[in-house]
Symmetry: C2
Subunit: 739 residues, 2 copies
Amino acid sequence: MDFSSFLTSLGTSFVIFLVLMCLFTWLSRRPGNDVIYYPNRMLKGLDPHEGTRVTRNPLDWIREAFSSTESDVIRMSGVDSAVYFVFLTTGIVRLHDSTITLFHAALGIFVLGGIVLLPILLPVAATSQGALKANDTISEGSFNDLDKLAMGNIPERSPRLWAFMAATYWVSFVAYCLLWKAYRHVSDIRATALMSAEVKNEQFAILVRDIPPVPNGLTRKEQVDSYFKTIYPETFYRSMVVTDNKKVNKIYKKLEGYKKKLARAEVIYAESKTTGSPEGTRPTAKTGFLGLFGKKVDALEYYDGKIQEFIPKLETEQKVTLKDKQLRSALVFFNDRRAAAAASQSLHPTMVDTWTVLDAPEPRQLIWSNLPKNFYSRQLRQHLIYFLVFLTILFYLIPIGFVSALTTLANLRRTLPFLKVIVDKPALKTVLGAFLPQLALIIFLALLPKFLLFLSKAEGIPSVSHVQRAASGKYFYFAVLNVFIGVTISSSLFTELKAIGKKPRSIIDVLANNLPKSATFFLTFVALRSFVGYGLELSRIVPLIIFHLKRKYLCKTEAEVREAWAPGDLGYATRVPGDLLIATIVLCYSVIAPIIIPFGVVYFGLAWLVFRNQVLKVYLPSYETYGRMWPHIHNRIVAALFLFQVTMFGYFGTKRFYYAPLIIPLMILSLIFAYVCAKKYYRFFRFPALEVASHELKEPLNLELVFRSFIPPSLSSDKADEDQFEDALSQVSRSGSTL
Amino acid sequence: MDFSSFLTSLGTSFVIFLVLMCLFTWLSRRPGNDVIYYPNRMLKGLDPHEGTRVTRNPLDWIREAFSSTESDVIRMSGVDSAVYFVFLTTGIVRLHDSTITLFHAALGIFVLGGIVLLPILLPVAATSQGALKANDTISEGSFNDLDKLAMGNIPERSPRLWAFMAATYWVSFVAYCLLWKAYRHVSDIRATALMSAEVKNEQFAILVRDIPPVPNGLTRKEQVDSYFKTIYPETFYRSMVVTDNKKVNKIYKKLEGYKKKLARAEVIYAESKTTGSPEGTRPTAKTGFLGLFGKKVDALEYYDGKIQEFIPKLETEQKVTLKDKQLRSALVFFNDRRAAAAASQSLHPTMVDTWTVLDAPEPRQLIWSNLPKNFYSRQLRQHLIYFLVFLTILFYLIPIGFVSALTTLANLRRTLPFLKVIVDKPALKTVLGAFLPQLALIIFLALLPKFLLFLSKAEGIPSVSHVQRAASGKYFYFAVLNVFIGVTISSSLFTELKAIGKKPRSIIDVLANNLPKSATFFLTFVALRSFVGYGLELSRIVPLIIFHLKRKYLCKTEAEVREAWAPGDLGYATRVPGDLLIATIVLCYSVIAPIIIPFGVVYFGLAWLVFRNQVLKVYLPSYETYGRMWPHIHNRIVAALFLFQVTMFGYFGTKRFYYAPLIIPLMILSLIFAYVCAKKYYRFFRFPALEVASHELKEPLNLELVFRSFIPPSLSSDKADEDQFEDALSQVSRSGSTL
């Protein structure tokens, strides 16, 4: 890619961003769009435009974002969002009345890094002469003004390399320092949230899996109750045995579907009444496949009949499920947070593959179908899936390599001759040349998350948040290995292969030669993601169009409209690894091509700004893990730092710099840093700390409500469960302490 | 070593064993020796000769050993001894009234292995021809009849190698099966012991370390009490803050020393009275260094004065220690086993480097001085010491290599010419030639354990048993790496070095050529340790002589005599790794030179027999860990099995056997086996299982006694502690729940 196409791409991206921002300002003021731009506020019953429309300033949302505090974020969107902001950028921590701004994580590293690196390294590189001219392997105009500002412009063995060595140390230490503070800060947020005096249902429950076979003469529920009553005679409240809900869920879904259809038919009927004919026309429905085939019947009667048919069916199935489909897993409730917290991390049996315990996730994020999975099956699945992911990563490298090699315009023109007409127009050619490789890459990456989520769920993980973390981890490795390393090496794979044929060169030479060349690619990549990505995010064009289309042509009832504008959550599973990939790229290039740092700052700055708006006004979290995502993010940033150091070590080596081994202590330091952080902070993110759980509650506790919150909707019809759970409970009381 | 010297060594060892056994029979019947041969029984107040002397059969002790059961062992010597027997050999497990003999661990593996391997592999090897004759690297008469019975006699690519492949699989599967059963059995023994209805003091306490700095206005004790009272309002009993006892210990030791000396002086005075002069002569003492220099004074008065002087000194120092020398560690007591068990494995603070908890070890095995060591200092020490041990292992390899190369007689004769007179006598030459290398090795190994114990204690480990386990682990790695691999490779290092100079050969060729050659060395090694080692162990010649000397010349008071015959414990720290080394050697050679199997069987059989006697009659355990040693032993046997498989893989490779890779699945299986065992069983050996701790106690609990048992002797003078601990407790009650 030459320099002009780089500038074009940059300019285009920025123009797109400005256009999207204006669109956002205009669209968000139209009252019909409130549900798209302020759903979080609306669902919380707040006025969506609180003080916004008065000033009529298009940059109002930015002012609002800046004036919001961390506790606003926690109040509106939960601890997880606040932790995401700690990752992205800055947190304002009040210490002893004086406001001290602490830069955290990504943005802080790049801002502090950039402040020192840019004014020093750019002149050092720019005033250096001779390296690139002497180097004859760079050809075909890819050598441009940008490369002059990079480390590639420094000749071998030059004493100027000392500046780059110092820069490596500076970036590393800034990273250690900020990461350490960020971990402590997140830990504090988590502790504060968990020790709050409000009742959090999941703090009173533990999840028990791998229950051994039922002894003769006992039911599963009696077995569980007597086991835990013996161990916790005073704090045990009651238990809920996990059941096989496949069939009852199916019936429940059908029933709900018919209810929705009935409501819809009623609305249609009511609408037909008002216009002219006061009797209206009764809507019809077809009984066959998908409502498209079969006999035509009166919809209202038909659906009503179906509902009447399914209600008793559901009740029967509920009874059968609760009684006969009890599986080898249970939720156990305690009358005390402390007791539950201690129980969730203690060893109960002598054989570890039975009575496995875990602190219960929130009811809404329980994956009911994964709970009864066997201990060894979980282990086996996990290893199998790691292996599968490993294979996926390995074999995705090949298509991605081809994509970035093929999508250079020259190649495209040769392979697909019918594109010649388009490609040969000069203006279009520049734009396409700039965007095509990046677009191909982004689309490629978009195909993956669903697959990884599916794989992670198949591991047998009991909660949605954990599945998303697991998928996010896989996605990160995938992104770093394939995008970063894959693109770097394969971008000149074809030219290199020829060179290797002639004269054998080591992999480290290949990498060192290609790293600076790929810098421009990644600059464009980061810019594209910053401006276009966050422009789209802010303007919410796609959800807006979909909502208006749905409302016009599909939605009839109030519930359907509400469903159409439901904002969803941030989608950590893809959002976080995406950001981490950018952080990795910027970190790794920060010293080699320091010009990338401002792009990193823009990316994370924009992310902070846009998401501050989205989190306060748009998204609603679909679960709350109290920052369990953080150790995961932390470890990956440290891994990126380590990769950065390894890259620098290799690159110093190819520059024939004798002091390259000075990077090694830094690498060891990174490992120690990771180890100490894990030792000091991690366990609290895995287990509930008793110190935190032992804070007093504000309100008197209604354990019945806590218990009820865990009953899945398909089992909680208004009367059935009451009797049955009570029934099961009373059965136990007579066989109290048989164990 | 040639064949005749091998037979001589074998014969000599066996004769020594017989002689020692006769000595034992004769000596153990002399009543004055009861304290040496039956101290365990005597200390338990049993009749030492219960039914023994009636029959007057010299093999009575063998009959007794066989008729004893596992519960006898547990009753007389604790769970740890029983676990040691499980390791050594067989356990008789009663299942549903029928007695089923289960072979466990070492002996079982070799017996079951030998039954199949010997009748198959020996004929296969012996009838094979041509391999060794064609092989010209073996020279100087080391090729002998033994080698003909080994795998070395099979030519390359021979189909006979299939028999050895099958044997490898057989040994591995026998090992998996027996190890699995043994782990389950040990786990059961441990659970049974821990759930017993007797009060075990340590089950009511937890050990708290890394207590954060004391907040203003509180004492350390108040801080600890209020912290745990908040978290455990109902089950917390009281706490004992760890103090800096260095000075008080010193005073206490001096006081005890003077008390002993006074008692001794009184006995001397009393003895002098009876003979002739009714007034007697008052003994004298010197006041200077070691009682050898300085002024001569009346001993009785002098010691009495000293005691009178030190008692108030001790009391003052006790008060100062308890009040002002509180350190950042404490023991916390609960009124319930369950609560203590849960507390010992739960996370209390949000920062893991503070308030670290651990289940309390027995009072007698607490290393008081290690308790206040800081979290990071412990981590750092651990890693430093691992590194030190690594260096030690590395550099011991060099002297050991020299030892085994130098101590061949020919070399010895050349380097130490004055030995020529002895060495040239033919009979002596044979004996020396057989024993010298092994003796040198054994002495070398005897120097190490103290050093490793010292290192392990420096890691900051809080209990004696854990220190011994840690030292034992280090010793095992040391033994295997240096003795087994070191001797194997270096035994022909000098010859090999020359060969390498001429014609480069891979390390695997070297190993393959040397493994069969070293077989004879290890046969002798195992035989020597079996016969001479266990002969000495059984006859207790050394303790007997020391005891009689002491009693005659040194001991005056009853307490001194008692001290002189105190039997001590088994000494797991060196015993277990020694046995594991033998198991590793025999396992690794079991297929290459199956003739080693009977030697292994003899070793472990004798060990079982002799120790059954020693455990029931002699040794007294100095601590009880309820089998925590087992996971440690188990892992090392599995590691030995893995080493065996790797060796076989390499050896099949050098035999140019195309199917050698068939060993790889076996290696993977070993790793899976280790993983599954660790997952299933290990955690119960690390943490107390609540299921076990929740069993009811028989007697009403006296918590005061539990608390008192943890007070170190130097702090527990009869009146002081009562007041002071009470005092400290009452101080807390007013600041009850400030946290």
